[in-house]
Symmetry: C2
Subunit: 416 residues, 2 copies
């Protein structure tokens, strides 16, 4: 099912697909919402969602989910895992006194108001809601507004509403797409603007987030999901195949790559893929995804495979080799799944770390969504105890740069 390649140049070309995704133009939508507020949103709901409303639907309060969920306990259990892990990420403030007495503090505070986008689309991404809301709550964000596309009845998906209830979120707007991002960024009559917008979305949502990022914080522009598996002859081909499939079923643009030094494994994995997708509900998407972006690359050694993986810096990296310890400290990825008993799905839902991960090689410079993404550090400087000791030095440093007003602001305090 997957193309088996031995040529790294071809692999590089295949990976270039990650840079080709074209930005869509959402400037009209942004302008319209910034100028016409709620009415623009209401018009887009009619145009894009086929939903007629006279005001922005604000479901909680007006509505409680009709569908009583059996999954509350399960969602509470996974929420607890996510919460505990993200609590450990809570950053430390500190006070540092330099030897001249200058007192410098480093403090963290939660962002005041955050907007969380939860996509509708093919699957109801309850886990996405959990993974964005919980770190914001752990950070101490006071106001959390959720936007998610409406069903035909104008309301959000019932599972999303149920999960919001479990998380005690009560500001939810059933508004989707670029218009939701515009509302969160500019504010409208019904939706107050936020300081930061997080959460995945389609190309329109991504383009809108990019456009408003000049004045609102955004998390990251996530591209198609990616998995790289590094496996040797000891790996179980059924597991490897299942992991590749689980990534490919997200989206026909998803990227699934196996790097191995074993030709035997490569062929067994392809056989297993055929067997496993036979009765899979997401078979057609998986086939399309493998067709477009699925690759098995045969390296000479596992070390070679590691080098290639690090060039990719994938979102998810699974390492299913005999001695993972040899390679662990060298690997560059958003999240690393250790050994053959750690399916990616474990990290998607259960393990605790965030499943919002850098794609497109961004793991080279940024990490998973985390508690600190919902907080802001700042510094506090008190020079009063050091002024006599160090004023001359600071003044001289300013003069070095020709900034005599700076020097004066120090000197004037010495003279008195």
């Amino acid at each position: 099912m997957l193309h088996i390649l031995q040529n790294q140049i071809v692999l590089n070309q295949q990976l270039d697909c990650r840079k080709l995704s074209q930005m869509v133009d959402v400037s009209k939508i942004l302008k319209n919402v910034s100028e016409n507020g709620d009415q623009a949103i209401i018009n887009y709901m009619k145009e894009f969602d086929g939903v007629s409303v006279s005001s922005i639907p604000f479901p909680i309060g007006d509505f409680t989910p009709k569908e009583k969920s059996n999954n509350t306990e399960l969602l509470q259990a996974t929420a607890e895992n996510i919460r505990k892990f993200h609590q450990r990420q809570f950053p430390a403030s500190f006070t540092f006194v330099q030897k001249d007495g200058t007192c410098a503090e480093w403090k963290w505070r939660p962002i005041e108001r955050v907007g969380i986008y939860v996509p509708g689309g093919r699957f109801s991404l309850v886990s996405s809601l959990l993974m964005n809301v919980i770190p914001a709550q752990v950070a101490g964000v006071k106001e959390i507004a959720v936007c998610t596309p409406p069903n035909k009845n104008g309301l959000p998906n019932a599972s999303i509403l149920n999960a919001c209830k479990i998380l005690s979120i009560n500001e939810i707007y059933s508004v989707g797409g670029a218009q939701a991002i515009a509302a969160l960024a500019y504010g409208t009559e019904s939706i107050s603007s936020v300081n930061k917008i997080v959460g995945p979305g389609n190309a329109y949502v991504a383009a809108a987030k990019q456009a408003v990022s000049s004045f609102v914080g955004v998390d990251m522009n996530a591209g198609p999901t990616e998995i790289v598996i590094i496996a040797d002859e000891n790996a179980n081909p059924a597991y490897v195949a299942a992991d590749l499939i689980s990534q490919a079923e997200h989206d026909s643009e998803a990227i699934a790559i196996l790097l191995t030094d074993s030709n035997k494994l490569a062929e067994s994995v392809n056989k297993q893929i055929k067997i496993q997708i036979e009765n899979l509900s997401t078979k057609e998407i998986v086939k399309k995804s493998f067709e477009k972006h699925g690759i098995i690359f045969l390296g000479k050694t596992i070390s070679d495979c590691v080098k290639i993986s690090n060039k990719i810096a994938p979102e998810h990296l699974s390492i299913q080799v005999k001695n993972t310890d040899i390679y662990l400290d060298q690997l560059i990825a958003g999240a690393i799944f250790l050994g053959d008993k750690s399916p990616i799905a474990w990290g998607d839902y259960w393990a605790g770390p965030n499943h919002t991960l850098p794609t497109g090689g961004h793991a080279k410079f940024r990490g998973p969504l985390n508690t600190m993404d919902f907080m802001v550090p700042y510094s506090i400087i008190d020079a009063s105890s050091a002024l006599d000791t160090s004023a001359e030095k600071v003044s001289n440093l300013a003069k070095l740069e020709g900034l005599n007003g700076h020097a004066n602001s120090v000197d004037i305090r010495r003279k008195q």
Copy 2:
């Protein structure tokens, strides 16, 4: 010298100037450098800098600064302060075991290769070099490449070279502007591409950083520098004036705002400004800056002033009131300068925290440049000890979202 206002709406309009700065178009420069590498850079050096070279100047190794600096000791002392403070910011990795045995790690590693832009222009910003290089070194970044505009002789400013020597930086290119950012992002024959680009610059540099941020990390797009001073009748007008001037001398677009409840202070500050700028070498810039963006706002109470300041969320906030403690925990700013003995210049050079701070209200969602900006966190997940206990739950969570391939990747590991 500063306009005294009592109307908050006017203040808001004045502040809107922060959003009006137009992005310049650098796409031609980016394309040219990405396609033609060194030759494009060499041509731009001739066109923009008036410097004729046959290859990219790579000063260290070829050249050592002719000018022996007397300031080495001073720079070493401030570097030590910066280093000590940023060492305290080094983030903690941890391992967390969930109650079912799922092992989740959170680890930090340095970014592999970082590019640092140091502007030339009016002042030789040695402090900017220190503030960007030192956190990268503290983070453990192995490769640091510095780009800075050439003098007429094709070499960087001698002070920058001297500071590089003190910091043991030996990869320096005298290339400036958008072409430097393009070289760092795409790589050329002589300059290898980097994973993240940091450092301030003019509108061309800022636009280039924004454009390449879809595939390279960038720090922040810093706008014109800002100061807000909250002061009451107890403040010393000479100090307040000196602080406002020190910000205004950076740039005619710099924003200097005094918020006070004391009409008497407002008038005394204006008198002091007149006196202090009389013989100042940067007088003309200060005057222009005050003319365009200087405001004194008279609030009814200091609490009102705090509210306005928080709407602005300024880069630098100086609080010169009788009881700073009452307000300290409410303030939103990049860096807060406490009391009347803490000139902003102390933080620009000496105190230890970074002087690269969020502008344009971005302090609402991001903090000062810090050690973590040069590191990447990632997670490691090991489910092997929890598979038997929790596989059913994880599988059910996947099924909730209709992701049956995900469920299968868990179930298949249980069956064996």
